[in-house]
Subunit: 370 residues, 2 copies
Amino acid sequence: MTSQTIRVELGTRSYDILIGEGLLAQAGERIAAVLPGARVALVTDENVARIHLETVSASLERAGIGVTTVVVPAGEASKKFDRLQEVVETVVGARLERGDAVVALGGGVIGDLAGFAAAIVRRGMRFVQIPTTLLAQVDSSVGGKTGINSRHGKNLVGAFYQPQLVLAATDALDTLPRREFAAGYAEVAKYGLIGDAAFFAWLEANWQDVFSGGPARTEAIARSCQAKADTVAADERETGERALLNLGHTFGHALEAACGYDADRLVHGEGVAIGTALAHRFSVELGLCPAEDAERVERHLQAVGLPTRISDIPGGPLSADELMTHIGQDKKVKRGRLTFILTHGIGRSFIADDVSPERVRDFLQRELST
Amino acid sequence: MTSQTIRVELGTRSYDILIGEGLLAQAGERIAAVLPGARVALVTDENVARIHLETVSASLERAGIGVTTVVVPAGEASKKFDRLQEVVETVVGARLERGDAVVALGGGVIGDLAGFAAAIVRRGMRFVQIPTTLLAQVDSSVGGKTGINSRHGKNLVGAFYQPQLVLAATDALDTLPRREFAAGYAEVAKYGLIGDAAFFAWLEANWQDVFSGGPARTEAIARSCQAKADTVAADERETGERALLNLGHTFGHALEAACGYDADRLVHGEGVAIGTALAHRFSVELGLCPAEDAERVERHLQAVGLPTRISDIPGGPLSADELMTHIGQDKKVKRGRLTFILTHGIGRSFIADDVSPERVRDFLQRELST
Ligand SMILES: NC(=O)c1ccc[n+]([C@@H]2O[C@H](COP(=O)([O-])OP(=O)(O)OC[C@H]3O[C@@H](n4cnc5c(N)ncnc54)[C@H](O)[C@@H]3O)[C@@H](O)[C@H]2O)c1
Ligand SMILES: NC(=O)c1ccc[n+]([C@@H]2O[C@H](COP(=O)([O-])OP(=O)(O)OC[C@H]3O[C@@H](n4cnc5c(N)ncnc54)[C@H](O)[C@@H]3O)[C@@H](O)[C@H]2O)c1
Ligand SMILES: [Zn+2]
Ligand SMILES: [Zn+2]
């Protein structure tokens, strides 16, 4: 069994990400080692509860850890105030104290919701992530962003809050629907595209092994976590370079919003895949990036089964105006000018903070008419 | 016009507290100096809106600052999830960005609610406090604790979040009901009792001038802010010495809870006054504190019109069991043992973290039967 440890260096808030097989059944001992004596509130969703809760609960019990479990409905709709209140009141009602932990067992939705609850109960409890989607393992569980959605947009309410431990059980992904796995893979490819052309080339050669499990999957997850951890360590609060991680995300978020966050139409990683392809094509159009690189990106994303065109999204057609409205509400806006992550080619992304809204609209208009 | 500036030293999060007359009418220029170009969401309550909103709004307008105003009902009941959501959605809906500010204009309720909203909108906006009660000026606006109440207890949900500026307009207190002024005064006296016997003696001699306004009031507020700022700078996240600020508060919170947070029966500072008297009498009973000191404390609190006995609270009688239940839910509990701030005498408080629940119950029983 392959397993790797990545240390996220954040001074007194440093922590380990363990990546490998069999970690769900080791959750109890691993948590007890880091947080001796802590009780936990285990937050999960209905899908994950059905498949993996028993394994984790049994492990916690074996380690003598007292557990209160909160199961919320699966899906993005759980990232909202009412659900946050429910989790918070359950944690407080269980009389957990600051030294006790909230444990997130699930995808990014659960990590974001439970992490935010951990951040605000008693102004900060301990927090452990057990991400069970590829997206959560390589992205949302690393970096300390937690939160919920506002009526006015996604992730507009939350906290920066670091966990004490992340357990990325790679074999927990065996039960993930292929579509969700591919969605998470969009974030994996993103790390190569931002700043590591060799990793992207490795993925082009090895993606089938990553999808089927074993050492290549562990390797891809570890390299992704390392890339994100390095970026976060350099810029925890996203005042600079961390923004590179938003490659594909300004377009992606707008697409998700325009689809009303309807997972039947588009899940986050699919939005990122289309957004990444758009960011490359937009960079080509601006004369910044070679056309071959954009084509290579599109080919790879398509090979793994990801959408790359707005027209790949099922359901009614989207409008450029609607997408622009969502882009304007996106949190990467600074005093009226648009900030986008653009690229000079594979592995050479950069932050452009003065993109003209008109150029973006024109570009989207053309994309929509093809 | 006397005015003083206290610098709260917290590294990159350091900020100034300005204390003096006329600051409401200077709010715009003062905020613009610290946060040039920022727009603001002004959060206040119905009482304060009636009396002071016009002055502050006009000042912001003169300084060219765009304002969105949120007025919530006055009173503790506004420190809850629904109201937080309302404030947050209003701020987000006004499209304020991270560099824009939430401004709290009001007492501790508004400061706690608005500060928490500032902490979580976009994972942290700028924040300015304009405290308009004595309690808020000397206590809640200093130190960065923000939050709301849970169904299970007070202040159990929140964030540590520092403002960029505090404007303590001492003349804004002229419109404060005398009862509220006295309640805030309990916190002023507390600073003397914790660690500054000379300040307590000064208050015994000068309290009437503090109540009537002018230089003595500014002086008392400045010394109180300085005492709290020093403690917070030494221990921002309350892992140690900051707990001393809870003198009178474990009892006080239990009394407030037992009264159902009914302001007609007991406001926070009155709970603190009784709690402080109780902490001194309990310390005498434990052989830790001279009886004369406890009597002197009680005499002074009574002189300014504060309650010092549980039986001073109007309405039905309270029970020791009920108070103990609330003490057990208080956040100063660590793994079953009670932490209390006790005292060796005036100006000599200390943290006792192994107080036996039985002794506390016996003590309360006797207090209740006198
Ligand atoms: N905090 C961050 O830095 C960050 C970064 C990226 C994304 N996000 C957030 O993450 C969320 C998306 O995360 P996600 O894609 O993991 O979504 P998700 O949590 O909704 O999980 C996707 C689906 O997979 C199911 N599932 C999870 N684990 C499973 C397993 N092992 N087997 C079978 N089914 C399983 C879930 O029940 C759900 O139906 C979004 O809300 C996004 O905003 C946050
Ligand atoms: N964050 C902290 O560190 C901290 C510390 C202590 C207390 N608190 C919190 O503070 C709250 C109590 O604060 P408070 O006593 O200021 O209560 P408050 O905010 O309810 O104000 C008391 C009353 O005075 C009115 N008022 C305010 N300013 C006025 C003015 N200038 N003129 C006339 N009326 C005015 C208000 O409308 C209200 O009715 C509690 O919720 C407590 O938990 C927080
Ligand atoms: Zn993403
Ligand atoms: Zn207080």
